[in-house]
Symmetry: C5
Subunit: 354 residues, 5 copies
Amino acid sequence: MARFLKNRSAVLGKAPGDLVFVGDRKVDNPTITLIEYTPDSLERTEVGNIRDVFPVKESPAVSWININGLHDMDLIRETGRGFDLHPLTMEDILNTGQRPKLEEYDNYLFISCKMMKYDEEKRIVSSEQLALVLGENFLLTFQERPGDVFDPVRERIRKKKGRIRTSTVDYLAYSLLDTIVDNYIYIIERLGEQIEDNEEQILEGPGRDSLEKINNYKRELIYLRKSIRPAREFVLQMSRLESELIRSNTLPFIKDLQDLCTQAVETVDLYRDMLSDQLDLYNTMVGNRLNEIMKILTIFSAIFIPLTFIAGIYGTNFEYLPELGFRYAYYVFWGVLVLVAALMLRFFKKKKWL
Amino acid sequence: MARFLKNRSAVLGKAPGDLVFVGDRKVDNPTITLIEYTPDSLERTEVGNIRDVFPVKESPAVSWININGLHDMDLIRETGRGFDLHPLTMEDILNTGQRPKLEEYDNYLFISCKMMKYDEEKRIVSSEQLALVLGENFLLTFQERPGDVFDPVRERIRKKKGRIRTSTVDYLAYSLLDTIVDNYIYIIERLGEQIEDNEEQILEGPGRDSLEKINNYKRELIYLRKSIRPAREFVLQMSRLESELIRSNTLPFIKDLQDLCTQAVETVDLYRDMLSDQLDLYNTMVGNRLNEIMKILTIFSAIFIPLTFIAGIYGTNFEYLPELGFRYAYYVFWGVLVLVAALMLRFFKKKKWL
Amino acid sequence: MARFLKNRSAVLGKAPGDLVFVGDRKVDNPTITLIEYTPDSLERTEVGNIRDVFPVKESPAVSWININGLHDMDLIRETGRGFDLHPLTMEDILNTGQRPKLEEYDNYLFISCKMMKYDEEKRIVSSEQLALVLGENFLLTFQERPGDVFDPVRERIRKKKGRIRTSTVDYLAYSLLDTIVDNYIYIIERLGEQIEDNEEQILEGPGRDSLEKINNYKRELIYLRKSIRPAREFVLQMSRLESELIRSNTLPFIKDLQDLCTQAVETVDLYRDMLSDQLDLYNTMVGNRLNEIMKILTIFSAIFIPLTFIAGIYGTNFEYLPELGFRYAYYVFWGVLVLVAALMLRFFKKKKWL
Amino acid sequence: MARFLKNRSAVLGKAPGDLVFVGDRKVDNPTITLIEYTPDSLERTEVGNIRDVFPVKESPAVSWININGLHDMDLIRETGRGFDLHPLTMEDILNTGQRPKLEEYDNYLFISCKMMKYDEEKRIVSSEQLALVLGENFLLTFQERPGDVFDPVRERIRKKKGRIRTSTVDYLAYSLLDTIVDNYIYIIERLGEQIEDNEEQILEGPGRDSLEKINNYKRELIYLRKSIRPAREFVLQMSRLESELIRSNTLPFIKDLQDLCTQAVETVDLYRDMLSDQLDLYNTMVGNRLNEIMKILTIFSAIFIPLTFIAGIYGTNFEYLPELGFRYAYYVFWGVLVLVAALMLRFFKKKKWL
Amino acid sequence: MARFLKNRSAVLGKAPGDLVFVGDRKVDNPTITLIEYTPDSLERTEVGNIRDVFPVKESPAVSWININGLHDMDLIRETGRGFDLHPLTMEDILNTGQRPKLEEYDNYLFISCKMMKYDEEKRIVSSEQLALVLGENFLLTFQERPGDVFDPVRERIRKKKGRIRTSTVDYLAYSLLDTIVDNYIYIIERLGEQIEDNEEQILEGPGRDSLEKINNYKRELIYLRKSIRPAREFVLQMSRLESELIRSNTLPFIKDLQDLCTQAVETVDLYRDMLSDQLDLYNTMVGNRLNEIMKILTIFSAIFIPLTFIAGIYGTNFEYLPELGFRYAYYVFWGVLVLVAALMLRFFKKKKWL
């Protein structure tokens, strides 16, 4: 299966709005978590039935409903009905091969993006799609499986750190997106360190290893860019939105997020340029090495081939070959050999090959 | 005949609006199919004479008239007259070398695009031009030959799946375009898998085979891009159209289609970048292989050429050559040879060639 | 003389509006042809004196005045005076090194572009500048020499084909431009066929011939692009012009022309990309061939150099060289040679060089 | 640690507005300097407690408060409170890995940029982040450590040179930014000289040294571009700002600064292009050198290999080998050798290798 | 000193508006020339004291004051005061490392650009900065040294050629700029001829000479582009200016100038592309030549190495070596040699190397 554009084929021929879960089934039983808070109160509930959550729409508190697992069609359909979501939104939630985007509907904003997580131990980046539905006073998040990067946000809510408890739900949405982009940048940093290390390795001696690394890093940057570029687009779109769902005092934070995204995209491009430079460097080093090999070959050949020829001359069996009979001929012969070799060496020294 | 810009020469010197069928004659007898539906009724008729279809303009039902085969000039002219089409529209329907586009006229929208179909068995992509004329309550489609990608849409109409039966004719047009773009993405996926496979092949050993594949894939991507880029343009144009022919509740679907087109174009570009990287990789691998060949040649030459020279010395026939008479000269001679060889091997080991 | 930017030096130091004919003198006596038509009447006159033409400005018929030959300054000055042209227009008519462009003046539109013609027999593209002045009811065209691509248009006028006889003069101007762009596309097609043929030739074996072809085609595409890009610009400009000189029912035709120009430009760019790919392919093939040559050299050297060395050993004249005296030494010697050769062949087979 | 995107990881999981100092602790005790001036008076004070500075907000004089050292969280928090700064501004002041930017708040402008300084002796560029807060009549500047490029500005204030003493605080801010950009250009100049020197070195003979230089310069230009491009952006933004904080008679100066930034960016791009050209040149020179090496090898091999073969012939021990017995055979033999060598030399001369 | 960004360092730390002459002192005594004309009168005066010129501001005639030499600070300061120039304008006049630009002030336009002159004999392009100040009815021009490209304009004024004497001062400014751009194009033409010649030289045989030429031409194009691109920008800006200083009947001329600039920029880009293609061609030719060299080496080696081996066999001194004693062994031996050589030649012929 092609890595960069997957899972669309499952949709081929379905009506738009038909619910199809595109993605691997990553969790057995979907779990629903509700966090409800006001500046003064906080409640966290594991919810069994999605219908129990619907009343939060009327509540004045900020409600964050997180759903892990996307393969239970009935649950998604039920959620969509309960929160009055457009059929396309429901299709987008389920299609995990989606290009990150923001859609504005009458009563909510829909955002889908990629959440990436770096596993320090295994040195592996895992990625999953996150769908956000931002309503008047509630936030729905849909994840493919449990485990996310939002623990710091949850802790801030619990410990009343920062302004999150005193802010509206759009600030919560911003906080989640900010955490996601922070993780992008963290991953780019880690990758960047490895790319910069590789450059030194190439300068020491260009091995096949470095070549494969360049190739892999390029792939990973392409993959990152595929998630980050559209993220920058929708954050920009968000900062220009004239929607009541984004309150004016959340706007400076979104502009800040926008700067962060720009920085992330620019850094990815910068590392891509660096990898191109590295490949150029690699090729130049390989060319240099070929030159060196050829020099050694040429020096050996050019010195010994004439010497061998001279020895060949006196290896002939001509009956009348006057030099052979001379008393010191053998020593003169050696002298000539040494002289020829010396001249050759001088020639190569002049050419700066030695 | 040039592959990318064909069939214009047949038009050279004709008056614009003159009908000329540019394309191979792909069907013998054009067939006309009329599908007429309301939420409650559905009728499908094979029509003998295009004039029988004209009354649908007055009917409140949604009518989809599909015409297979373009070489019957009289039929096209008749259709144009019956549905009040501009002469340029009629020329565009017939010119299958057309760049995909959307034209807005007073009473209808004209869209021409490429319909692509992947034959799973033969692994061949076939492409033909599709022209759509979207009127108040009818949709005309013109195909070069029978057989298309619209069977799922027809089935949805028949089985009342999704919202198609309860929607207006612009939703039908959207459904057809969506199916076409889905097929683009499906084809890009298939091609992408092959491109990604090729990369591994190159890393194993760069053969001429891989080179030709890179070349072919590049060509195919150019060909795909030529159809998909203008498609993205006209879908964008469609979403911004202030025409009554596109109802406001169809707009979210067209925006969704636009995202799909963007994703398709980006993926094509991404694969094109990957192919460039593959060619770089191929060249680097070829350079590496040349280095390896040269190393082997240099090692052999540099070891044996001096040895041969030494043997040559003692093959000379000098009368006075003292070493020849020594008792163990031959063994010393071998010793020297082994020593020289050992020194050379050490030298190459130091250079990390062995 | 530089090919791409010629003939400006003749203008150096002249006052703008000073008339200087920049170009080779391509015709001896300029000829003036007047075609005057209404839906019902048609007259074609060879005019001796340009003054005889001036009354057409007052006539209700459509008048097309074509002037072949630009070196008669007096004629041009007279024409300029008679039709009330701006001095810059007159300078632009004469300067055949002009970048194609459209200028809007109070009472007329000025367009200059390159007219290209493909000579099927000689396989040569000839190019000349065409200047158009589009007035209320007249069209002036200035050509460098007789012979143009407009015969189909003249025939349409004569035979009342299409809408030309019933349309206004702006439709006539459109028809001429359409014919010119049709010829661009025809030429690109011809060039494209040759470019695509060249690719197969390179894949068969990269010769110097293919290299020069790539180089020539690149040059020709640069040359084409220099004419076609500005043409696209001014057709776009024309379609956006809010001038009474372009009637509203001519606009759809100009938009169609615009699509044609876009297609032409995109195809030129596409072929340019293909040529870059071809050069890459060529270089890769050359690299592959070098590899093959080196392999053969290395195989020969690596097999025979050790063998020659062994023969050299037994060619030495050591007095005590025990092997020489053995009864089957010569056969053992051959055995060793064959063995060494076999080992080397096996080594190269393992490396997949054979 | 990756060089281009550092220090974000420390922020991971913090609430926006949480103060974290990202950067090395570069100074022990932060120092606060207040310069207060009117056209007639000037006072410079080292301030112990930031609270002593707050009254300047009410003073009619221009006040410039410079803070060296960012690691004292309390000081920054206090300053923020005293001057009524947004939490994001305070975060931006402390995050020294920030992308340069301008943010407009209700009562102040916030600018962060990189200040670069070239140490003539050590030939090292040091860089630190400078944050500016421009209020109605005060300017706050935050530096990571003591020592900056602003001494000329301070002297102009002291000596009443130019218009600075008679201008408002926005002119002071402009003066600081102008000094920073002047230093960018000075550094680009220095780097440019070295880049241009390198080109001559490559033409003399492409060494590994030049290759590493190309690589280093590329890196440094990337680094410079990362600071200068956003600077151009925010200066442009500044010139378009409709804020009362920028007085209309300061605008021409900001436009001038904008030209300077454009020049800086263009020059960086230009040098980057030059480095790419240098790498091409280097590779071409390496290719040329390989050709030269191969030529020498080929000349030697092609001359001596046939000669050695001929000598080999007469080294054979055939019992019946008539030439060996001829009286002048040895001289004829030499004649043949010389002839063969001469023919080869002529062949190579014809090929223009000698 | 870096060639592309010079002389800024002298400004480092100066207050904006401080006058510093950046540039070499190119003339000893500045000269001031005043040309004053109306349709009927013309006066040309060498002015000793700049104050004598100030009254022209009140005169109804068109006045052109040209100042050669910029190092006399007092003169410039005096001029600035007399014509009421902004301090930044005065700084810009003196800073000859300036990026070409146009600045609009309340009562005048300031333009700075590069004036280039091609010396036909020495084949050298000299460049100097020209600053223009266009007021209501006067034009100030500042040159670094005497000698410019404006003699044709002066002659037109003297001889009343064209419309210059009857036009306002903005037409005079246009005429000067037009002359400057004409000279750009003339220089590009000259350079273009040389570039096109070089291509043929490369095709004949790629020498080091051609390589250095490619390199030099690239540099010169970069240099030209640095002057011409900003010129295009400010001419565009000029054509859109809503200033009373540019009269409406001068506008068509400025639009014409704009086309000329576009043509100049496009041609520079085109030649830059051509140079890149030439470098590719050069490298390909070098690769081809390497192939040819290797072929010759391989043919010689592959033919003679086996032959030498065979000769070596029969040079061995085995006591029992039956072939040596055969009567026609020597002739058979030669036969074998010829046969082996013939087989090798046939093999190479099959490979199409001969």
